[in-house]
């Protein structure tokens, strides 16, 4: 069985930052593995540990810097890594969901996995759509916002028996036929830390870099139907009353508020 895990390097913004045009300047950005994808990697590695002959392939779309992120997936137990990049992608603006799905669809076609695991969303652009759009593009079945997966059933019966985390403390129990794409919610498992040995081994593994041409795509895949036309810090709507002073003064004022509201006695 082959498991494909999509991972994304996301930018996180420092506490204070500046926007120039429709971008945040690079000096205010840090890069990390998308939190949701970390859980997807773990789910993939758990499948490979539970079954014989399960290969886990991690794929990312990103510049050379993103190798650090995909090496994290290798260090945690992915067997191979593919990075898709090209000058045409480097020059593209905000990729729309269709473009991302098409790019990953080409990787799915090349790799022919039985199951694709993807984070529910990415913390930077927050579209929450790539996994399901990918499933539709390649004709796989899917389930979104999965917070429990029956590993045994995947391996033995070719069925993804999942819980989908709905709102308000309710879960939906659903079976989907493989091949399928599952979008993985945080909390589904406990992502492992990469061991030192894992990190060392990951450093020496080769990352398979694929261009658009390698994947049988042309530059038009990077044509986005979306344009980012403005970026701004949201105006604070706060009408909070701030409790000033040092920590003990703030605590004393806070204690007064709690007493006044009648929720704590003397």
């Amino acid at each position: 069985m082959k498991v494909l895990v999509t991972v994304k390097e996301v930018a996180t913004v420092e506490e204070d930052f500046e926007i120039s045009g429709t971008e945040i300047e690079d000096t205010y950005l840090d890069y990390d593995l998308n939190e949701w994808d970390d859980y997807a990697v773990e789910a993939g590695v758990q499948l490979s540990e539970a079954g014989d002959d399960v290969e886990v392939v991690a794929v990312t779309v990103g510049p050379e810097r993103a190798e650090e992120t995909i090496r994290m997936a290798l260090a945690k137990g992915a067997d191979r890594a593919v990075r898709v990049w090209d000058d045409d992608l480097a020059d593209a603006g905000l990729l729309d969901v269709g473009s991302k799905a098409e790019l990953l669809a080409a990787v799915v076609e090349a790799e022919d996995p039985d199951i694709v695991l993807s984070g529910v969303q990415a913390s930077d652009d927050n579209f929450g759509a790539t996994g399901v759009a990918l499933a539709e593009t390649v004709g796989f079945e899917w389930a979104a916002v999965v917070n429990a997966l029956d590993t045994e059933k995947v391996l033995e019966e070719g069925v993804a028996s999942v819980h989908r985390e709905l709102e308000g403390g309710v879960e939906e129990l659903t079976d989907v036929e493989l091949p399928a794409v599952l979008t993985i919610q945080t909390g589904i498992n406990e992502p492992r830390y990469a061991s030192l040995r894992g990190i060392r081994q990951a450093q020496s593994k080769e990352i398979d870099v694929q261009t658009l041409a390698d994947l049988g795509l042309d530059a038009s895949v990077a044509d986005s139907d979306l344009e980012l036309t403005a970026m701004y810090e949201p105006e604070s709507e706060s009408d909070a009353q701030y409790l000033e002073g040092d920590a003990s003064e703030q605590a004393a004022a806070l204690a007064d508020v709690l007493r006044e509201k009648g929720v704590v006695g003397e």
Binding site: A135, D175, D225, Y242, V263
Partner: protein
């Protein structure tokens, strides 16, 4: 040309976002100078369709296929509806079920998709969508100029459509290709439960990522003991396994309405706020003065929880632990 809004419902009831997306849909229909259609798919569609007949809705389509939500049925039903009424904009909920079918519908129909809108506008064939990025630290405007479009709207951003409308309510029959339905919903499960019902508490002390380490929970527990509060948390604390699921406040956890909600080290992500904005008084303690939690807080304490909380424990005669 029309605008078509698709309702969200579960276990026989329309969810709030259904009425909100009618408002967003009406705005778009006005901007485009066209009619607003609404659709409800699966379940007791006749009664749900009547509920969708609110002011500003021109036509309601009741699609009777299926008992409960199944994305394969939704995709086919919306595909058939779109072929019939030719929507310029599809308005869908950015709910968990929306996440499960909206991208597939947009992909199947070849519509340009924008998710999680907090504001929308339509001008001369261009769809303009306001949305957030980088964990709500920035707001952006995204323009799409090649229609038709599908947009999913965030719950709680539009007022609910009200009043009884005079829409034409009719049944829309779809012939579902059962071979293409490859997912089976087996049922539902309530999670959480457990020893404490945080939705009943009148004073919640709630913690988030700012607590940093599991060991530091001891500090909050001492505060809970000194004040007689009930302990709750935001999602990451539960994801880390530090507290059980029944303590989680938010969209995927519990909705709470205490007299006082003391949010400690919680930034105020939209999913969390959805669960606690009904609190009578909200107090936030956070080191980041720009944290979105202050937008809804009545009282703000900008400071280090590891200094403020011990002082607060002492103010109520307790003894802070060493953490």
């Amino acid at each position: 040309m029309t605008v078509l809004a698709v309702a969200d419902h579960r276990r026989g009831e329309l969810r709030d976002v259904s009425y909100e997306l009618l408002t967003a849909g009406r705005e778009l229909a006005d901007a485009a100078g066209t009619d607003l259609h609404a659709a409800v798919i699966s379940g007791d569609v006749d009664s749900l369709a009547d509920s969708l007949n609110r002011e500003g809705v021109d036509q309601v389509h009741a699609v009777p296929n299926g008992e409960e939500f199944n994305h394969d049925v939704y995709v086919q039903a919306i595909e058939a509806l779109a072929a019939d009424i030719d929507p310029e904009v599809l308005v869908l909920p950015n709910s968990v079920n929306g996440l499960d079918y909206a991208p597939a519908v947009a992909s199947r129909l070849g519509y340009t998709y924008v998710s999680d809108a907090v504001d929308v506008d339509y001008d001369g064939g261009t769809l303009e969508v306001a949305r957030e990025m980088y964990a709500s630290k920035v707001e952006t405007t995204v323009e799409a100029d090649e229609g038709p479009f599908a947009v999913s709207v965030r719950g709680g951003e539009w007022p609910a459509a009200e009043g009884v409308g005079d829409a034409d309510v009719s049944t829309f029959e779809v012939s579902i290709d059962e071979d293409a339905v490859r997912s089976t919903v087996r049922g539902f499960e309530e999670v959480g439960g457990g020893d404490v019902d945080i939705s009943e508490a009148n004073f919640l002390v709630s913690i988030g990522r700012g607590i940093e380490e599991e060991e530091n929970l001891e500090l909050i527990e001492a505060l809970v003991e000194a004040t007689g509060a009930t302990l709750s948390s935001s999602r990451p604390i539960v994801d880390n396994g530090w507290l059980p699921k029944n303590r989680q406040v938010g969209q995927s956890g519990k909705q709470v309405t205490p007299d006082v909600y003391l949010a400690i080290g919680i930034s105020g992500a939209v999913q969390h706020v959805a669960g606690m904005k009904g609190a009578e008084t909200i107090i936030a303690v956070n080191t980041d003065p720009d944290a979105p939690i202050y937008d809804i807080a009545d009282y703000g304490v900008v400071g280090d929880l590891f200094e403020v909380v011990p002082a607060l424990i002492e103010a109520f005669g307790g003894e802070p632990p060493n953490v």
